[in-house]
Amino acid sequence: MTAESAVGPAPAAFPLTRPGRPRLSKADHRRLRRRYEIGRVAVAIGFLLPNLFFLIVFLLWPLVQVFIEMFQTGGLIEPIRYVGLRNWERIFHDPVVIQTLGNSLRFAVIIIPTMLVLGLLIALVLQNVKRGGATLRALIYLPVLAPTVIAGLIWLFLLDPDLGAFNLFLRVIGAKPLIYLGSTDLALPSVAAMEVWRSIGFWALYFLAALIGMPRELYQAAHLDGANSVQRFRFVTLPLMRRVFLFAIVLATIFNLQIFDSVYVMTDGGPANTTATFVWYIYHALFFFYRTGFGATMAFLLLLIILALSLVQMRLLRRRIGV
């Protein structure tokens, strides 16, 4: 074989396209090409490595750990023991797990429809607001900037039975002041109201972006066909927004099944666990009850629920991701 030198004289059997110039043999060509390919893969790995390292150590490895811990008890104080599927049995027999799952669902059921319907309505009116629109949009968006715990602290003050603005208002109009976060009936809706307040601006702008992106020709055509504004909304906007809406529902469900920050600062799960969410209980399983396996099993259940929802989301998004 002629593998000694990269640039050797061309074998006689090989026809030269331009006489007088050296030409690589086929083997040399293949060898150089291989080296180039290896170099290229090495460069790509070099560019990906810093990110992949962290993804593996702090995301995929913990995921594997959740799976292993699911079959264990102990770990923090007691020695680790393998217990098979006993943790699953325990979580389904623990009334608090069922209660926190229920609470998380109640949060989702209260927050999501309110937030999305209001968000869409605000987006629809924002469309007609031209002058001063930027200022008004910024004001609506302000709560979105607040870290959830800060928003929670603000509402803790607003909802205070003695000093809070809500009860001041009720006293002004002559109604009886209420106890919000201390009552088993009102605590969850109050936290939910805070969640709606702090995220409504986001959804308004999300829907506004979708509305602005709609093809204008369809509206003009509908207008020519004599459709009034309600009909245009019903027969043009809504069908076009279907995907946007579905995506928002899935996304909001994923967010709201994981409520923790607001509950942590506003009620810490109380009164009588009526606002305790699933994630709140995972946190408590580790830091208050030292039940790692139990917490990991709940975490795995949460993971399954979120994964199922994410798969739906992926289907909706597939075209945008482009893989």
Binding site: R40, L48, V66, I150, A299, F300, L303, L307
Partner: protein, 269 residues
């Protein structure tokens, strides 16, 4: 008619969203005694700075601000560099299993953070990093959203420029540094805003990763003071105002990027 109605509704909504924040601002400038007066006065007759001075000088609040800035800027800086590199590799380079690897990265986006909280705590514990900046900075680096974003931004760039540079003998890293980075500046800003905002508002991880008073961030610091300050809403309000002012100022400067970032960030819970 429609316009008037729209304005009316928008103004009501804008007030509902922003009035609590202005109310907090007003409360932070009032003596705690005045909170008990009835009817409440909205604009304090004289500005009372006591809440701010006790927050700044009698609590570790300034230390929390410093911690937050150190952590959020470190994460942002590292993420912008790493994610643009990975985004470039996924967008422009050809290597085996590229698409498969990218699908895996996208899949990791579905892992909710609260699901890996417990093992992550043990990993940091075993490294002996609890209560350090490392504990706050390293785990947030494992977030694939930036790779996804940067790939999208870089994919749209024309190949001709890089190829021209390649013919001139520029190395791949040189192309990344001198061709790709300047061209995706708008994308880098969106990613930086998104990362900074995520870090600035993050709560559950710092809550478990550090417990020293001096290592808290603004969010965890204020939240854990709840039982100490009880109903001292003046000092809470001052804290909330101090936490919000930088982010609001930042928002007013970079409004477009903020909204782009939060819409993009919606993909990751």
């Amino acid at each position: 008619m429609l316009t008037t109605f729209s304005y009316a509704v928008t103004i009501v909504v804008a007030l509902a969203c922003s009035v609590p924040l202005f109310y907090i601002l007003s409360t932070s400038l009032k003596d705690q005694q005045l909170l008990f007066t009835y009817p409440p006065n909205w604009i304090p007759s004289h500005l009372y700075w006591g809440n701010y001075t006790s927050l700044l000088f009698k609590t570790p609040f300034l230390r929390w601000v410093l911690n937050t800035l150190v952590v959020a800027s470190s994460v942002t800086l590292i993420k912008v560099v790493f994610d643009s590199m990975a985004g470039y590799a996924f967008a422009k380079m050809r290597f085996p299993f590229r698409n498969a690897l990218f699908v895996v990265v996208i899949m990791t986006m579905m892992i909710p953070f609260s699901a890996i909280l417990i093992p992550l705590y043990f990993i940091i514990f075993n490294f002996g990093l609890l209560n350090t900046y490392w504990a706050l900075i390293l785990p947030p680096l494992a977030n694939p959203i930036g790779i996804f974003l940067m790939r999208g931004f870089i994919e749209g760039l024309p190949n001709d420029l890089e190829n021209a540079a390649r013919l001139d003998g520029v190395s791949e890293f040189g192309i990344y540094l001198r061709i790709i980075l300047p061209l995706v500046r708008p994308g880098l800003v969106v990613l930086a805003v998104l990362t900074f905002l995520t870090q600035y508002t993050s709560f559950i991880w710092p809550l478990v990763a550090v417990n020293d008073q001096s290592m808290q961030l603004i969010t965890t610091g204020l939240a854990t003071q709840r039982s100490v300050w009880q109903v001292n809403y003046g000092i809470f309000s001052a804290g909330a105002v101090m936490a919000l002012v930088p982010i609001v100022a930042f928002f007013l400067l970079l409004q477009k990027q903020f909204i782009a970032a939060s819409l993009a960030g919606a993909l990751k819970q």
